[in-house]
Amino acid sequence: LIPGAVSDAAKKYQQDPKIQNLIQEYSGKIFGSASQEVSQKYPLVAMLPHLDLDFRIDYGKGVRSKDTVSSTAIYIRAFSPAARREAISWIRQQGYDPSDYEIVFSNFTNPFSSGASQ
């Protein structure tokens, strides 16, 4: 539903963090209205988006999820390790176990993603 970038100019445009955020939000809205199954399987989504002083939690399509029917991920935008821990705590406080969700941290670059030997 959201067109993929083809030209170099469009790719550059989509890499802009502001545009990425808009795409992410819009994907979540489309995705959310499309699937009742998602809210049954991943009930946390009913409480999203959630905005806090130090973090924001949304949901959208899974990135690495093996759930082929209702692939869903929780997107956390937080700018510090402490804020990311707070976001996880917030999920627990709502009565949900983060273990049951794929959680993607938007502002976090995993140092191990590119450091593995084959």
């Binding site: 899974g62 690495r64 093996k66 176990d97 273990s99 049951d100 140092p111 450091g115 030997s117």
Partner: protein
């Protein structure tokens, strides 16, 4: 007339008995449970709201194949102090129920293995991430299952960086990281082949 009355009476009783037997048979569900060969277990009936005095319905060793009245039960293993003897829920319904129970080692037994496995787990980690692992160390290494699963915190040496979590599995005597890369929070949708209870425990290592 008297004879006919007796015959009719016998028929009524027989039909009543047959009806009772059929309804009794209909209330039973087929159950197959397999357990470790050396372990004993009891099947206890969950008595609704009152968990005070569960009633033992069957006792068995290694396996049980039979019929039980439909309802909620628990299988309580008695495998000795080396094993986690937590009970497993059993719901008997109209369809056959199959339950395969693999008893985990007790926490005490698993803890006794940690020092002997830590070096191999660290080696597996360092071999997988030779460039990055220098700045990180594995902490709170904890074993699960039968000592064939391990979880750890991946802690940065530098301040203001995220601690990550990793799960390892021992296959053919070799440890291998199975959550590649380590992440802040491990999710069951990404790793459906790792037992959920292990993921839950590793996500609360602190």
């Amino acid at each position: 007339v008297k004879h006919w009355l007796i015959v009719a009476g016998v028929l009524v009783v027989a039909l009543g008995g047959l009806q009772w037997f059929r309804s009794y048979e209909d209330s039973l569900g087929s159950v197959n449970i397999s357990l470790d060969p050396a372990a004993r277990a009891e099947i206890v009936q969950q008595l609704g709201e009152d968990p005070g005095s569960p009633k033992t319905v069957k006792s068995f060793q290694a396996s049980y194949h039979g019929k039980l009245k439909m309802g909620n039960y628990a299988v309580v293993p008695h495998a000795g102090s080396d094993y986690d003897n937590s009970s497993t829920g059993l719901i008997v319904g109209a369809n056959p129920t199959t339950l395969s129970i693999r008893l985990d080692y007790s926490d005490a037994k698993l803890k006794s293995f940690v020092s002997g496995e830590s070096e191999a787990i660290n080696q597996a980690f360092n071999a997988k991430y030779p460039a990055v692992s220098i700045g990180y160390s594995l902490q709170k290494i904890t074993l699960y299952g039968r000592g064939d699963w391990a979880g750890a915190l991946v802690v940065p040496g530098a301040a203001n960086q995220d601690s990550l979590r990793a799960i390892f599995q021992k296959v053919n005597s070799q440890w291998k990281i199975v959550t590649d890369p380590p992440v802040i929070s491990i999710g069951t949708p990404v790793y459906p082949n790792i037992p959920r209870d292990i993921i839950v425990k590793v996500n609360i290592l602190n």
